[in-house]
Amino acid sequence: MIPFERHDDDSLVDMLAAAGLRAMDDAGLGDRPVDAVYVGNMASGLFNHQVSVASSLVDRLNLMPAAADRIENGPASGGSAIKNGLLAVASGYYDVVLVAGGEKMREVIGPRSTDIVACMTHPQAEYIYGVTLPAMAGMFARLYMDKYGITRDHLADVAIKNQNNGLLNPYAHIQMKITKEGILTHPQAHINNPVVADPLHLYDCCPVSDGAAAVLLTTPEIAKKLKNTPITIAGFGQATDTHTLQERDDPTDLKAVTIAAEKAFSMAGIKPADIDVAELHDAFTILEIAESEHVGFFKKGQGGEAVASGATQIGGKLPINPSGGLKARGHPVGATGTAQVVELVWQLRGEAGERQVKDAANGFSLNFGGFGNNVVAFVLRRDA
């Protein structure tokens, strides 16, 4: 993984290559060939005017004749790329697969970036009416808050927690402590923290970042021969939902999140209560709360109080987003799912430094594509 920030001087492929090299070096792959490369990327054609980035990455890393594919699943592209790499190894066809997720979003100005990301919405039913992801999240947040009693105070708790965690993560884009006075309670806090899409304000939203992250996937037999401690992907799940929010019976019900998580837990043979550390897709603060309930960590309507109580802080009952999450680590869309898994690997190996979750043995990640219409979840395990 490389730091998420503004990479003015690096191309997308530069970033993917740097992250890929770090993953291979970390594993101690040596001269063993990489059979295939999967690149999670959402929109390099639009952001960077470059496509076929997987082919370019293989060449840059001199991994020919490895197979190479780009995997696109919106902001869950990184998670989908890992899933495809996992299936390729599990099938027995490939032994060693490099998965890299990356996005270079800061090449364009903010409004253009927001527009590109909005291309994932339904073109005739949503995009044409000017909806953006922040707007969609704002509408979702309003409904969720009304239905479950979540408050702006709870949202601020998520923002403050994750920015505190980001201060402990040298890879995080945002390294700044914020206070409830500064973003919520001071009479002039609305000037520091203006409305983006009511009820969401600036500090409820993730930054726009550049970045890349990579993992190396292989068989248990080969993993045992490599130098570093391997972490097992014990379970995964992926599920979809309607493209438009309006077609869902209850727009506050993130069915794909629930189903993807259930599949991952089922495959791993564990329950949500067995998870020691989780990386959730908090592109907006409301999503961390909603996802924490939909995957089964908390009952519906209790996610806000869980954050307020400190249960999801590092040192709490279930630390969520010790990396800082998308909110502080950043959200280069194609990189996020991969970065979540990298963070869990560090946590499960005990290599997460100041943000280390004590004795973490089971980790969970949730990568939220579209507005919950294509979700990828993983359970990772440190084997004794």
Partner: protein, 230 residues
């Protein structure tokens, strides 16, 4: 110095009302004191600006070079009717803005330099500059231009400025105007600050303008915070 000749070289000046200091609570909870600089403060301000002169990122070099020249010109009496506001946190200089009166009715916004980034310090200082022009100098409008995309977004879009014919004196770029009506329409959402500044905060700010080291300034501007990675 031949003071008779110097008298010809120095521009005349309009009387200018002072800008009363204020304090802004930032997202971090830190207290940003915004106050007017004195001419005697300029040498230390130039020290703080100097590291930016070779930073092309976000046009810091252009803004830095021009601000440096404008403040130096003010210090040595070669710019007319200029004022400068400072942003300080616990005495540390985190931003500078300058401006001048073109006439009693019209102000000319010059530059905004945020040394600490990510906290809307530049936005708070720019808003204070507009506050000074409109509320304390009682001008009718301020002519503004932008040299960076960030500036364009912050000033032209957030304030809904009106495009004007003619040229801004910063190199002839297109001028936009902040009128009194636009200012007061935007004030509640963009102009922060409380007065009076608690004495203990103001004393710290006035006692000394602390400037960060060159490395720290570059780190804040470039965002290169990560010296040790896992």
């Amino acid at each position: 110095m031949d003071m008779e000749l110097e008298g010809y070289l120095r521009p005349p000046e309009y009387p200018m009302a002072p800008y009363p200091a204020k304090v802004v609570t930032l997202a971090t909870g830190a207290k940003l004191v915004i106050r007017q600089a004195n001419r005697d403060d300029v040498p230390i301000l130039l020290e703080a600006i100097r590291p930016t002169l070779r930073v092309p990122r976000d046009y810091y070099d252009i803004v830095g070079v021009r601000l440096y020249a404008e403040l130096l010109g003010w210090y040595r009496y070669r710019v007319r009717d200029e004022f400068c506001l400072l942003g300080q946190i616990d005495g540390l200089l985190v931003g500078i803005v300058n401006s001048r009166m073109f006439s009693p009715e019209v102000g000319i916004s010059l530059h905004t330099l945020a040394i600490e980034r990510g906290l809307r310090i530049g936005a708070h200082l720019f808003a204070s500059k507009m506050e000074h022009h409109i509320e304390y100098l009682e001008q009718d409008e301020v002519l503004i231009t932008a040299e960076s995309p960030i500036g364009f977004r912050r000033w032209m879009i957030e304030y809904g400025l009106i495009k004007r014919d003619g040229q801004h004196e910063l190199g002839g770029a297109t001028p936009y105007a902040l009128t009194r009506d636009l200012y007061f329409a935007a004030k509640h959402r963009l102009v922060a600050g409380e007065r009076p500044v608690p004495p203990e905060l103001l004393q710290v700010a006035e006692k000394e303008i602390i400037i960060a080291t060159e490395d720290d300034i570059l780190e804040k501007i470039l965002g290169a915070k990560r010296k040790v990675l896992q």
